[in-house]
């Protein structure tokens, strides 16, 4: 469900599958465990392999944003699909995190970006 890449200044979380209420708790716990291990200045949630997200994902982003605020870190959201961008926009979550599209940071080995995000 998630893969982590830890660098000195940055934790990148590669999410995959469907981010709904059923899966959110497990994802949240895994992210928070990794964040609390190193308190990275930047946490990136990479959505390139997330096929669906509802407001459960917004709850996850809001919660991580609060966690980052506690120690002064920055939250970034990379490569959300069109459907996910729409949910982010409606919920105002695009104000909680830096959103970047087309970020080509290397995914974990063997996982190439599956699609491009043409506007």
């Amino acid at each position: 469900m998630i893969e982590l890449r830890q660098e000195p200044e940055k934790l990148t979380v590669f999410l995959s599958g469907e981010l709904d209420h059923h899966h959110a708790k497990e994802i949240r716990e895994a992210i928070d465990f990794a964040v609390r291990e190193q308190f990275p200045p930047v946490v990136v949630l990479d959505f390139r392999h997330v096929t669906f997200m509802d407001s459960s994902g917004i709850g996850l982003i809001m919660g991580r944003s609060r966690l980052m605020e506690e120690y002064g870190g920055t939250l970034e959201i990379h490569n959300p699909s069109q459907q996910i961008r729409k949910v982010l926009r409606i919920s105002g979550a695009d104000r909680l995190a830096v959103i970047r599209n087309h970020v080509d940071s290397a995914a974990p080995a063997g996982k190439e970006p599956e699609h491009e995000y043409a506007e």
Binding site: E18, D20, H21, D54, S55, S56, I58, G59, V87
Partner: protein, 153 residues
């Protein structure tokens, strides 16, 4: 209501059924050949309604069931009804207020109804404390004739 086609399904209010419920509604709506974005909107709105019932309806009680009814109405309108028999909502206006959640400890964003409103054309919520909650949504999908694809020539 002149119903052209209908699907009705009852399942336990368990979180592993969230994916099944939204996929089922979209599979039914696919007979209208909607756009990718319309289908994504419908999938998200249904997910919100079903998740609400799963998170809130049977809190502190034996898990009950959720019944989803999907109807195809004239002019390519999809009607979805999501009903539970749970605790109900005492104050619907408060529940629909953006960012309000009665379950903040579980990191619910309080945006379920906001998403349903944004992603469909019409939303109704009826509820009776102790009896349950029913959400209905309507969404007009792009009719094949409106797309200008000109049939099967």
């Amino acid at each position: 209501m002149n119903t052209l086609n209908e699907l009705k399904c009852t399942f336990p209010a368990r979180s592993e059924n969230e994916s099944f419920a939204r996929t089922m509604v979209c599979a039914f709506a696919a007979q209208l050949d909607p756009t990718v974005e319309e289908l994504a909107d419908l999938r998200t709105a249904v997910s919100e309604a079903v998740t609400n019932s799963i998170v809130h309806a049977y809190r502190n009680a034996e898990p009950g069931t959720i019944t989803v009814t999907v109807r195809l109405l004239p002019d390519a309108v999809i009607y979805v009804r999501i009903a539970d028999h749970g605790c109900g909502i005492a104050d619907i206006a408060q529940a629909m207020t953006p960012l309000y959640s009665s379950a903040p400890a579980e990191e619910r964003a309080g945006l379920g109804f906001t998403v349903m409103q944004s992603f469909t054309d019409r939303l109704t919520v009826t509820s009776k404390p102790g009896r349950g909650t029913t959400v209905t949504m309507r969404k007009k999908l792009t009719h094949e004739a409106d797309k200008g694809t000109g049939g099967c020539s």
